[in-house]
Symmetry: C2
Subunit: 314 residues, 2 copies
Amino acid sequence: MALYDRVALIGLGLIASSMAHAMRQGGLCREITGHARSAETRATALEIGLCDRVFETAAEAVKGADLVVLAVPVGAMGAVAAEIAPHLERGATVTDVGSVKQAVIDAVQPHIPAGVHFIPGHPLAGTEHSGPRSGFATLFKNRWWLLTPTDTTDPAALARLRGLCEAMGANVDTMDAPHHDLVLAVTSHTPHLIAYTMVGVADHLRRVTQSEVIRYSAAGFRDFTRIAASDPTMWRDVFLTNKEATLDILGRFTEELFALQRAIRLGDGDHLHEYFTRTRAIRRGIIEAGQDTSAPDFGRVAEGATTTGKVRER
Amino acid sequence: MALYDRVALIGLGLIASSMAHAMRQGGLCREITGHARSAETRATALEIGLCDRVFETAAEAVKGADLVVLAVPVGAMGAVAAEIAPHLERGATVTDVGSVKQAVIDAVQPHIPAGVHFIPGHPLAGTEHSGPRSGFATLFKNRWWLLTPTDTTDPAALARLRGLCEAMGANVDTMDAPHHDLVLAVTSHTPHLIAYTMVGVADHLRRVTQSEVIRYSAAGFRDFTRIAASDPTMWRDVFLTNKEATLDILGRFTEELFALQRAIRLGDGDHLHEYFTRTRAIRRGIIEAGQDTSAPDFGRVAEGATTTGKVRER
């Protein structure tokens, strides 16, 4: 069932290409137009059928669209919004998929003309891969899609966008932008920075060779490298635009880490044991909430998961 | 082909129970005896066929064994070694599976009688589960098993133990104990401490509810919770016994983290982008080394992985 007539995807990376696959599979729109800065990406998008038509400029791509999805790095949102603003259809909805919400609102909202609905959004879904070939239709299945409407958001436009997200398999939740940015600083942004840091430390060590680090990565470090392999431009923009919340959580993290470090130095085993026991309970909560399974992680992706890999090739 | 006649497993958790399954599947020994402090664990071991016979004391379990595997927390190794020493068969090999090696050598070696071979070991394999029911035969398949022999280690005893590890599917590497402890501080111990810390920070926050943290854990935090769900006693002992190397790596980590934190505060996007680009290369190396696959991680275990989960139930 088509929920929109023409959807314009601005930026054709992992999220936009997954949306394209999911919308086509569900018959959720009649036509998909697209724009990416790189000619190669635009050619790929046509070749693999992500878009019906691609355009050299974002301005051309949004003409006649009733839904415009800004899927560019957070730092580029403002410029794109300024460019497309004069070409937006009256009654159209503009949404975005940025990992930070207040900064996007500050950058985009001033450009949105009267009669156009801007509803910021953030699908909590992704892999460590990027680019137009990395998308697949089930990326959003059973994942959260957070929308951050304001008091003035049009209820009908919000309901329609929510319907699209749900039709792509996502669970939708709404919250205000500052709270979104704090929650994500805890669950995503700070963990990413820490993972990047740990991988960087390993890279610097002289007494341990890189091949040793790579060989013996199974126990813990491997998960960090996957997190730290995510798109550098996207993550640079996340930290620059969610600065306050990230620095807040980082400060708490360092404080907590120093307390554990001190316990190690002083040989305070009780403190360590109590701490490690408490963190187990959170894991149980995540499994119960259906955000992961209790199947053991073998230190590698299980054989069955290659089936999933194939989805990417469609 | 039986490589040992009677193998005694002291401690019956994830590693020992996986060894039992793997040795039985490969017909690698004639008999398996076992000891665990808990009567319930001993009963389970008999019930699910991990051991042919179980004993209330480690001393009884090692009698007549030509291979003794110490699979207890690192902090308990010394006491167990003292207890079993008078009962070890001449010519037998004693090995351990502790995550730290120098501290185990210091605690165990003094008790080993003349004519008995002590060859410390560490399989780099595990899941976040523990206990006698958590083991499965393929845990060690294509994983590294590090042995830390000394100049005086008997070559024949070493070759035989290596043969057993390889027959269980592992790749064997040898190195000296201090180097092992440094490498593991980088690839495993410090990443675990950091994951525990981040999960603890999330648990403390008042402005973000625990249900929000759990719901929105897919993007990064979820991997941390899996790491931080590991056995608290084992990890307490790891940090207490690999103190120097862990504190060394932690110091470097904090230094590096502060540099990134400063770049965020100053808005130095180039620094962040350069750093995040470099860490991607390490990820590629790990995939090329076969320690993970390039299949995307969906933010949850793929459906196919449940097949693997079933292995645990055997």
